[in-house]
């Protein structure tokens, strides 16, 4: 603003301002800056006084807008900057009326809220831009309305889809529940059969257990177990240390002028063979030269899991004629039966691989192996297998039921008032921002992927909606928190607060990091385009392409 240009205007106004101030005001509509809703409180009375709106004081009517703050509530100065915290009402013809804080009155700035420039009555620097601003405003409103309309249609399809999904799950659930009842009966029958078979071979075993070699073997096993747990503990500690250092090396803040940290990082990188050259980010894997002497994990597993009782059976003379050939693989099959269900799958893979390997090396003759050929006799093994298989089936069935029930439960609460968000469960949107691509998968995880080296940081998992709002309200669905992400160097666990609004598309608009490793995403989704008349419609936040389209229209 050029001061010089203002001189003539100011001088003129200065001369007249006192005159203006003392001019007797006849009607409230001539009171500058007064909200028409308050006109009735400013009617002149017979004693020519005005009572401050808070009732605290009675002042001469002429003291209204005399550029001096008489009323503690500022009600005597709607049109000047004399009182703090009051508002100047702008008629804004051609646009909607607005108001500006009294501190904006005659400050020389043309505020868009007062597009008619009436608040700059003394400085005179503003001219009405209401028709232009009004036009733009209406165009934007129209875009918002359209977006909301389109968005709510899409939202309608989400709701419909969710309804179908709900019906399907419910039907499926019914069927599975019936199946469970049948399956439980089968399992029970198999269990009884197994128990009967087992008890008959027990007695003989007890005798064999008395041998000293068996006792010694028990001792060995105990020692091995302790040794392994110690190894495990040391490895855990090593890994923890490594992960501390890895985290430090990856995320350390060079903004700390701390040469000790730098030395630690360089040392770690050397130790782990990472090239310290920047840009050549390594995965941080420690190269491991396989050592010949190294004991394989599975070998130890094997030793530990070896069923000693089964071995006792094996060494009974009756079995000797079976020959060595099938020994190893046979053993593997025997272990088979003592593996707890929870580990069975992984064990199975290992076993099959091992057998394959043994065959390849010529150590084991054939893949044809009769299960249970050694220890207990095939009848026990078969009974056990049957029981276990049935148990597994039952468990899977129950798991599926829990899942379905959980989904239904979430569809009634977490997935929105009409389960519209269910459609977005697992949908991902991303955006490139600076050196990173940010991704958010609704109700899942968020990530930050480097565009330089492909490394990625986990930023958190869906935790909750806007807990500050009442569940079910529109506000409740305008924020999501994803937390417990990866830890920042010298910082918190990464987390993301997602600010959601209505838009035609599911899109990640912007990413910011107001505090270290605490991110904010702005996301649009049709799921928040509640149709007019639904919920607190006035509060529906519409974003997305308002600006872009407004620019388009301008062009």
């Amino acid at each position: 603003m050029s001061l010089i240009a203002l001189i003539p205007i100011l001088a003129l106004l200065a001369l007249s301002s006192r005159v203006l101030a003392e001019k007797k005001i006849i009607t409230p509509d001539s009171i500058r800056g007064l909200d028409p809703a308050l006109y009735n409180k400013y009617e002149p009375n017979s004693s020519n006084t005005f009572q401050c709106l808070d009732g605290s004081k009675v002042i001469p009517y002429s003291a209204i807008n005399d550029d001096y703050c008489d009323c503690p509530d500022g009600s005597d100065e709607p049109g000047t900057s004399a009182c703090p915290n009051t508002y100047f009402y702008c008629k804004n013809e051609g646009h909607i009326p607005g108001k500006v804080l009294s501190s904006r009155v005659n400050d020389g700035i043309c505020d868009p809220e007062c597009c008619d420039g009436s608040d700059e009555w003394f400085t005179g620097v503003c001219f009405s831009q209401c028709s232009e601003i009004g036009k733009k405003y209406r165009a934007e409103e129209e875009i918002i309305r359209k977006t909301r309309k389109t968005g709510s249609k899409i939202r309608g399809t989400y709701i419909k889809w969710a309804q179908g999904e709900k019906n399907r799950i419910e039907a499926d659930l019914e069927a599975k529940k019936k199946e469970v009842v049948e399956k439980e009966k089968e399992v029970e029958r198999a269990r009884i059969a197994l128990e009967k078979t087992e008890s008959s071979s027990k007695e003989e075993l007890e005798k064999k257990k008395k041998s000293p070699i068996y006792k010694s073997l028990l001792d060995h096993r105990l020692t091995l177990t302790r040794l392994r747990s110690k190894t495990q503990r040391l490895e855990n500690e090593l890994n923890s240390l490594r992960s501390i250092l890895e985290e430090l090396a990856k995320g350390y803040n060079p903004n700390y002028q701390d040469m000790a940290v730098k030395a630690a990082v360089v040392g770690y990188e050397e130790l782990s063979g990472i090239s310290p050259t920047p840009g050549e980010e390594s995965e941080g894997d420690v190269k491991e030269e396989p050592k010949e002497e190294e004991i394989k994990e599975w070998e130890l597993d094997d030793l530990q899991r070896k069923d000693l009782e089964a071995l006792l059976w094996e060494h009974s003379p009756a079995d000797e004629e079976d020959g060595d050939e099938d020994e190893e693989s046979g053993l593997l099959w025997k272990i088979d039966e003592y593996i707890p269900d929870s580990l069975y799958d992984s064990w199975e893979t290992l076993r099959d691989l091992t057998i394959e390997w043994l065959i390849k090396l010529g150590l084991s003759g054939k893949s044809k192996i009769v299960k249970g050929s050694a220890a207990e006799g095939p009848h026990v093994a078969a009974a056990r297998e049957k029981h276990r298989n049935l148990g597994n089936e039952l468990k899977k069935l129950n798991d599926a039921i829990t899942d379905s029930e959980d989904t239904l439960q979430r569809m009634n609460t977490e997935f929105g008032p009409q389960a519209e968000w269910k459609k977005l469960d697992g949908t991902c949107v991303d955006k490139v921002s600076g050196d990173y691509t940010y991704e958010i998968c609704f109700f899942g995880k968020t990530k930050q992927k480097s565009n330089k080296d492909g490394s990625s940081n986990y930023m958190g998992t869906f935790a909750e909606w806007n807990t500050a709002a009442t569940p079910g309200t529109y506000d409740y669905y305008t924020k999501q928190l994803y937390n417990n992400g990866g830890r920042c160097w010298n910082g918190p666990l990464r987390s993301v607060q997602v600010d959601l609004s209505c838009g035609k598309e599911n899109a990640l608009l912007s990413i910011s990091e107001p505090e270290k490793c605490e991110y904010q995403f702005r996301v649009t989704t049709p799921a928040l385009c509640w149709p007019e008349g639904e919920g607190e419609e006035s509060d529906v936040k519409v974003e997305e392409d308002v600006k872009a389209e407004a620019i388009k229209e301008e062009l």
């Binding site: 004399a82 430090l248 803040n253 903004n255 002028q257 830890r487 910011s512 107001p514 505090e515």
Partner: protein, 958 residues
């Protein structure tokens, strides 16, 4: 900080065994103690020897020959040391024409056979005129063994008694000694020595003494042998010390005083406690060596970011000062004895160049210092308003959101700051395009509301050929060099960096060009600059700084100029901002490092403080210390740089910040956001009110800045400076007056404090600014004020007229034509005075008389506004007086006084008239200014008196 990193990680992985013993805060071991510094160890040991020697047996080896006149007011004495009879020294004493009789004492080694020269250019950088004109009236009388110089204005009767053998110089006023040089015989200047001879000597000597080949003299009674004399290794750094030992020690005694102040910057009390002797508060001397210190201690003599080698000695009847023009590492011991305060200054290199400031009152010292080093110029008015900073506002959207939020909450804001993250790869001047795609658009948006921005530009330059600034420094050959002559690089924010050598004049025009709006196209005239890290900070250097054997222009070693270094950078940036526009506008540059003279170039702040109560409490004394040493435009990071202050602490910090000359909130990148609008009520309301109060009182701050620009007066005035005769206030450093406004402020710095105590020195009534509670006149009283979180002690001294602007705008420039309120707090005789200075706030029109400066006077019956002119002090000469028709005055001719409030009248006036027009007023009875009991004062409010700020007027109270 450090412990939390580790402990957090440890929690994640669940390993508790990793928790090593860790210390919080500063790593003291990163910085040298005196005992770890070769020159300090050697020179300080002289004091130990002196103390251990039987009384009267320790004699200075230095003696003077007869004086030789150099010019009027200047004499030389050949100076010799009995330790090294073959070495020649010289004492020169100048009596300066200006400054009420300032004596300048210089000592250097002359006719040396050494290839080296002692650094003698500190004065060139620190003084306005490195060769000040000499007094023609000073008279030297010399008789055998003694010289005596009489000088000073007729009122002062100063003399300098110079005893030849042993060397001793006494400054006397009216025959009474006030400063004694070499009273304890500790003065020593290490001459340049031959490394080879010394090496042999070391081998031959036992651990306690040096015996030179062919010289049987035992010097161990004075000099300590030192294996580190020619090469010093500390931690992993080796200082090659090509010049060998070249330190010097000064022995300055101040008879008859109990308080010494100054030597900023330290986190220590204003009245400096002892560092030696039986009452020592600290075990190490005060150190002056600019360093980038991380989480500094709240009470320590450790060196910080700035160094002003200025000391004031003060007693009820006199004040004297010493300015030691030395830029190398300096340690100062202070000891209070019953008869005097004794100080011992040891420096690593340089000549002795000491100015004795004669006083006799603190105000004279401020003026004398300002005459020598220059007063702080008037800053842009907006820079005295509120600054919002954070490391970092991440992008354009972030900046504009902060800007908008302040508006939404009606909290005023003038300046938004950008820390290092704005720059791509910390290549200052180059914006991070992802975050700031269109800096000019952003700057224009901010400027549209009268606001400004500040971006950081540090002195380290990323070593990258594609970086224009780096390539320029390489091509111009203006980088600091290593001892072998190659360019030095060190590690800082951008990684491997070079350091611009601003001692090299070739860098100056180039640096100016860098800020030219045509060169730096992505800046506008709304962008101002922050010079951080200019100690200089080097992350992988000794003491987080540069090796001392680095080489600057002219071949000087870094050790010689270390403390001056940051000031040159500050200066050049300020000059560049002045040059970028025509007509020129006032620059604003914030620096972290400073030296004597830095006040001429902008503001400084107290660096990386912590967001805790202890640091909040410590800031006041630090800032008072800066203020008495000329560095008035100072502030502290409001909220504390490190940590997350509680809402209570933050409110208290804002209260303190609103009464600091430089008022900026700042926070580390790891802290939670704490912009004032982020809080819930009532905290937000408190913060808003405090910031608005600053804006209402901006006229008071501008007046204080104006006074400082004329006379070097502190803006924050400690008790001893305002009441130099009240001994009870001499140690007070937790409250202060704002300029000469009569506002007495005390920050509340205790958690949960419901009351605070304010010491009143003078026999005048004081009025609570917020409640108009009147505390009747009584000298030497301590008031207890209620201080719930919403308020704090702010008193108006009876006799003051405080100008304010009650209408607060979004930014301070928007307030230029808003009316003023005059708050008149009557003294016990029912009178008051005040002032108001205003100009356009940004340009240099004021130097041509385009300003208004009013004096307000109320004598009990008449309130008058009359023109005010500069005072009689010599420093105010040359101030262009103004007439009422100057351009600025015409422009604000319509600006009115909207309200006059008078506290303490003893009765309601019958009528109040101006130009025979009756003025409306209200009156509420209460305690009068001459009353004896505490209570609400009477309050008279004159509404719209119809007078302006430009012209003369009178208002009659009958």
């Amino acid at each position: 900080m450090r412990s939390s990193i580790i402990s957090l990680l440890a929690c994640v992985v669940g390993i508790t065994t990793l928790l090593l013993p860790l210390t919080l805060g500063v790593k003291e071991e990163d910085f040298k103690k005196c005992s770890q510094s070769s020159f300090c160890r050697r020179l300080r040991s002289i004091a130990t020897k002196q103390e251990a020697a039987p009384s009267g047996t320790f004699t200075s080896p230095y003696t003077l020959a007869s004086p030789i006149a150099v010019a009027d007011g200047s004499w030389k004495w050949p100076l010799a040391s009995s330790l090294y009879p073959e070495i020649r020294f010289e004492l020169q004493v100048d009596i300066l024409a200006e400054g009420d009789g300032i004596a300048r004492i210089r000592i250097d080694e002359i006719d040396t056979k050494s290839q080296f020269k002692r650094y003698n250019e500190t004065a060139k950088w620190a003084l306005v005129d490195p060769d000040p004109s000499l007094s023609s009236s000073a008279v030297l009388k010399s008789s055998s063994g003694k010289s005596s110089i009489s000088y000073g204005p007729s009122s002062s009767k100063l003399s300098l008694d110079i005893q030849h053998s042993p060397l001793k110089i006494i400054q006397l006023r009216n025959g009474k000694p006030e400063i004694v040089f070499n009273e304890r015989s500790l003065f020593h200047m290490e001459h340049f020595r031959n490394r080879e001879i010394e090496k042999t000597a070391e081998i031959l000597s036992d651990s306690e003494q040096i015996v030179l080949k062919g010289d049987e003299q035992d010097r161990s009674w004075f000099e300590e042998s030192d294996v580190d004399a020619f090469q010093e290794t500390w931690k992993r750094w080796t200082d090659s010390k090509p010049k060998g030992p070249e330190g010097f020690g000064l022995d300055l005694t101040f008879p008859g005083v109990k308080h010494v102040y100054g030597l900023p910057e330290h986190a220590s009390p204003l009245s400096l406690p002892d560092t030696t002797g039986s009452n020592s508060h600290y075990s190490d001397p005060y150190r002056l060596f600019n360093v980038d210190i991380f989480e500094y201690l709240a009470d320590s003599p450790m060196s910080l970011y700035g160094a002003i080698p200025l000391l004031h000695a003060h007693s009820v009847d006199h004040s004297v000062g010493v300015l030691n023009l030395v830029g190398s590492d300096t340690f100062v011991d202070v000891r209070h004895d019953s008869d005097a305060v004794r100080t011992h200054w040891v420096s690593e290199s340089g000549i002795v160049d000491v100015l004795l400031l004669p006083g006799p009152k603190p105000q004279n010292l401020f003026e004398q210092y300002a005459q020598m080093t220059g007063p702080t110029p008037l800053p842009p008015q907006w820079s005295t308003a509120y600054h919002q900073c954070r490391w970092n506002y991440n992008d354009e959207d972030d900046v504009l959101t902060v800007d908008k939020k302040f508006d939404e909450h009606d909290i005023p804001l003038d300046v938004t700051w950008l820390d290092i993250e704005y720059a791509a790869d910390r290549k200052y001047f180059e914006w991070n395009q992802n975050a700031f795609p269109d800096p000019v658009r952003m700057l224009d948006a901010v400027a549209s509301k009268g606001r400004k921005m500040v971006a950081i530009v540090d002195p380290h330059v990323k070593k990258s050929d594609s970086y224009r600034i780096y390539a320029d420094t390489r091509d111009l050959d203006v980088q600091v060099k290593k001892s072998d002559g190659s360019n030095y690089d060190g590690w800082c924010w951008p990684g491997s960096s070079i350091y611009v050598d601003f001692f090299n004049p070739n860098s100056w025009a180039w640096w100016t060009k860098m800020f030219d709006l045509k060169t730096w196209k992505e800046s506008t005239n709304a962008l101002f600059i922050w010079n951080d890290m200019n100690e200089p900070s080097v992350f992988d250097g000794p003491e987080i700084s540069m090796p001392r054997d680095n080489i600057h222009a002219g071949g000087w070693e870094h050790r010689d100029v270390h403390n001056i270094n940051g000031m040159l950078f500050h200066n050049q940036t300020a000059q560049a901002l002045i040059a970028r526009e025509s007509p020129a506008k006032r620059p604003f540059v914030l620096s972290r490092s400073f030296f004597a003279g830095s006040q001429k170039f902008g503001a400084i702040w107290t660096g990386d403080n912590m967001g805790d109560w202890e640091h909040l409490a410590g800031e006041t004394a630090m800032l008072l210390s800066n203020n008495i040493a000329g560095m008035v435009f100072s502030g502290a990071d409001v909220g504390g740089f490190f940590g997350n202050p509680t809402p209570e602490l933050l409110v208290r910090w804002y209260q303190a910040g609103a009464f600091m000359p430089f008022f900026r909130a700042h926070a580390h990148i790891d802290t939670k956001r704490r912009e004032p609008y982020l809080f819930d009520e009532p905290i937000r309301g408190y913060l808003r009110d405090i910031i608005r109060l600053r804006y209402q009182l901006l006229p008071v701050w501008y007046d204080a800045f104006h006074d400082a620009s004329l006379t070097g007066s502190p803006i924050m005035r400690p008790q001893y400076a305002v009441f130099p005769g009240d001994e009870q206030g001499f140690a007070n450093d937790d409250q202060y007056y704002v300029g000469d406004s009569g506002l007495l402020f005390k920050p509340v710095v205790q958690e949960g404090a419901e009351t605070a105590q304010v010491y009143i020195s003078d026999n005048q009534p004081y009025y609570d600014y917020f409640t108009n509670q009147l505390y009747p006149a009584k000298a030497h009283q301590t008031l207890t004020l209620q201080t719930p979180l919403s308020t704090f002690p702010l008193l108006i001294q009876g006799g003051s007229i405080v100008p304010s602007r009650q209408r607060v705008r979004r930014s301070s420039p928007l307030m230029w034509q808003d009316p003023y309120t005059l708050t008149i707090a009557l003294d016990k005789d029912g009178q008051a005075t005040g002032q108001l200075y205003q100009d356009d706030g940004v340009g240099y029109g004021y130097t041509n008389g385009e300003y208004i400066w009013r004096s307000f006077n109320f004598d009990g019956k008449t309130l008058k506004s009359t023109p005010k002119s500069a005072g009689s002090s010599p420093i105010e000469k040359g101030i262009v007086p103004y007439d009422e028709n100057n351009n600025w005055a015409q422009l604000i001719a319509h600006v009115k006084i909207e309200q006059i409030i008078i506290f303490g009248l003893n009765a309601q006036p019958k009528s109040i008239t101006s130009d025979n027009v009756e003025l409306p007023f209200t009156y509420s009875p209460g305690v009068a200014s001459n009353g004896k009991k505490e209570g609400k004062s009477s309050v008279l409010i004159v509404k719209n008196p119809g007078v302006g700020v430009v012209s003369d007027w009178e208002i009659l109270f009958e």
